[in-house]
Symmetry: C2
Subunit: 376 residues, 2 copies
């Protein structure tokens, strides 16, 4: 019932190879023949069978995008950027959600392997060794994880965490909690490392609470624990947790930022809509999506896998690009952070130094950073 290349060939009185060329190499066929074939194809409603085409060319013109949790607002901007970038290059993107489940991740890579030309692994939860192994099955680009020998796109959450801690220390907080995220998250490890260093550096105490589910409920679930710990400020693994935590604290009668300051990570749209508006480390998700697609396609074009007449020597030249890109993050100060118990009348802050913390002029509740005071 589905109309194939053969039907078109019969209808237009040419060989199937001519029909094939009409679609995949039009310059090789006589203009008159071409229009005739195209007319017949149009007439019959012919569409090339992409599976069959993929089978012989080894290229599907699809790329797979594996996402830990599609419901996390962190990801949609990344997905959209990847899609638009891919579309420019005449590729389609298939997204798959793993529900933070490493098993599902592996399974989906296998499922996608032969139906896409490459896979973007976003914030994977599986082990590095498994990733390396899977990369032998299909070209991989990893986002938010460092894997030796594979192209990676990283967001500098270390720098972000440091800025956040420094911001809190500057506000007079001496006892800070870090709400950890999933144990297997690279971002999580980076944050712990950098936040720990920054805390030592600033001479303040850092309590790590976690791991936790990187969601609102994960955040609100630790509210009680945060209160008991007696810290005056919290850096959360992501905005969702930060927002959940604020909710949870609110329910406990603890006010943010008056009693506890909270900083998130990601700068999801939502963080501008809650009350108080969230101070957070903005991550360049769009750029990450675009970059990842570029790296994948670049590596992919070099080695058209499985094609036959690939001439001599290419078998050797499977030189993979193993570039690692690190993208900047940016602290955005809003209303969820305020002066801590050890806030001293601070010297007036210098003008924003270079590309550092960004402080939007907000007419709402003044943050400590905007309030001026006498030097100590």
């Amino acid at each position: 019932m589905p109309v194939t290349i053969r039907d078109v060939a019969r209808a237009s009185g040419v060989h199937i190879s001519t029909v094939s060329r009409t679609f995949s190499a039009p310059h090789l066929v006589n203009p008159e023949t071409r229009v005739r074939v195209l007319a017949c194809a149009e007439d019959l409603g012919y569409r090339p069978n992409r599976a069959a085409r993929a089978l012989i060319t080894g290229r599907t013109h699809n790329i797979g995008l594996i996402i830990a949790d599609i419901a996390n607002p962190f990801f949609p901007p990344l997905i959209k950027a990847a899609e638009s970038q891919a579309r420019h290059r005449d590729y389609h993107v298939f997204v798959a959600d793993t529900n933070e489940d490493p098993t599902a991740e592996e399974e989906l890579v296998h499922a996608l392997a032969k139906q896409v030309d490459g896979v973007l692994l976003c914030s994977p939860r599986m082990s590095n060794s498994l990733i390396e192994q899977l990369s032998r099955e299909v070209p991989l680009v990893v986002v938010n994880r460092q894997v030796a020998g594979l192209p990676c796109v990283l967001m500098d959450v270390g720098q972000g965490a440091r800025s956040a801690i420094e911001h809190l220390v500057g506000l007079g907080h001496r006892s800070i909690a870090l709400l950890g995220g999933p144990r297997s998250s690279w971002t999580n490890r980076e944050m712990r490392r950098a936040a720990g260093a920054a805390a030592r550096n600033g001479g303040v105490e850092l309590t790590v609470l976690g791991p936790n589910a990187p969601t609102e409920v994960g955040g609100s679930a630790v509210a009680e624990q945060v209160r008991r710990s007696g810290v005056s400020a919290v850096l959360a693994y992501n905005d969702l947790m930060a927002i959940g935590l604020i909710e949870g604290l609110d329910a406990l009668g603890v006010r943010v930022p008056q009693e506890v300051s909270v900083v998130g990570v990601d700068d999801i749209t939502l963080s501008r809509l809650t009350r108080p508006k969230l101070t957070t480390v903005a991550t360049p998700t769009g750029a990450a999506g675009r970059t990842a697609v570029d790296m994948l396609l670049q590596q992919d074009i070099e080695s058209p896998r499985g094609a036959r007449g690939s001439g001599a020597g290419t078998a050797l030249g499977v030189r993979r690009t193993t570039a690692q890109v690190m993208l900047q993050t940016d602290l955005v100060i809003r209303d969820s952070t305020g002066p801590g118990p050890y806030a001293r009348p601070a010297r007036p802050l210098a003008a924003p130094r270079g590309p550092g913390p960004h402080c939007p002029a907000d007419p709402g509740i003044p943050t400590a950073a905007t309030g001026d005071a006498v030097a100590s």
Copy 2:
């Protein structure tokens, strides 16, 4: 380089067909042979090529999910439910985002057509006739759109809009605005129809504002217009617009719900986290995803497309299930709606009547519905 069935056959000293059967019909092969083949396959890291398998069986064990806007929090629960349901049936789901663009929709259906066994079209923006045409190319199930001859999953937003209007009328609002969504949205038309009828019924005035982009910015963009229109209550196309509107009104110094009441639709997670918490019409998104997958697989199993030895008579029996399922919606009253200018001291409300509007006992800002007053 990639290892094929032939390599496994060679390594284990059997014919490729035996290898094939080891995977797709294990009971047909001698247990001893089977373990040997499996061992070799494991050894070599063999994975059946799904494209090739699909080419001959006509079944990919994938289903496509086309979504208007993945960044709209309305969709993720639907996606997740569809995925989990599909996974139970040993199917994988590929999600594609169209950015509310009908052209992208069509293109993606074509791209997916031969790589999936069926497509779920969620809140499509293209025309009914185009949908019908595409349905000849690949089995389709439509969500949030009524298309004759195709299986559809609908959410009863008409009922929802009616409840919302009645709720507002009951609170003493006489002049209500409806913030329309995308023109080509079935949901949008249904809401206008039902809200219009309910308004006439209640003897109140209904102003339709729109169409608008179904996002926060779409909502905040009409804030000024809402204020000028002088209405005391607004029913928005979805929660995102409602939240955007509340923000926009806030920026204009108009307080919600004191001066204007706002009702959304969808009950996204976010609607519980904003201040004020949003009164909204909850839609059963998870159920919709599950149902749609079920309907697709059911229709799909009946007609294994393109297989060869399909015996006699099946060509006739392509009887498609054209069931249409309508799912209930549910008004959830929170804090964004309050008494209107014509609120009369209401008689004490009767206990929640049956499965109607749901009013959670909320210790926060009392809504009009929970505040008691003297009878008129």
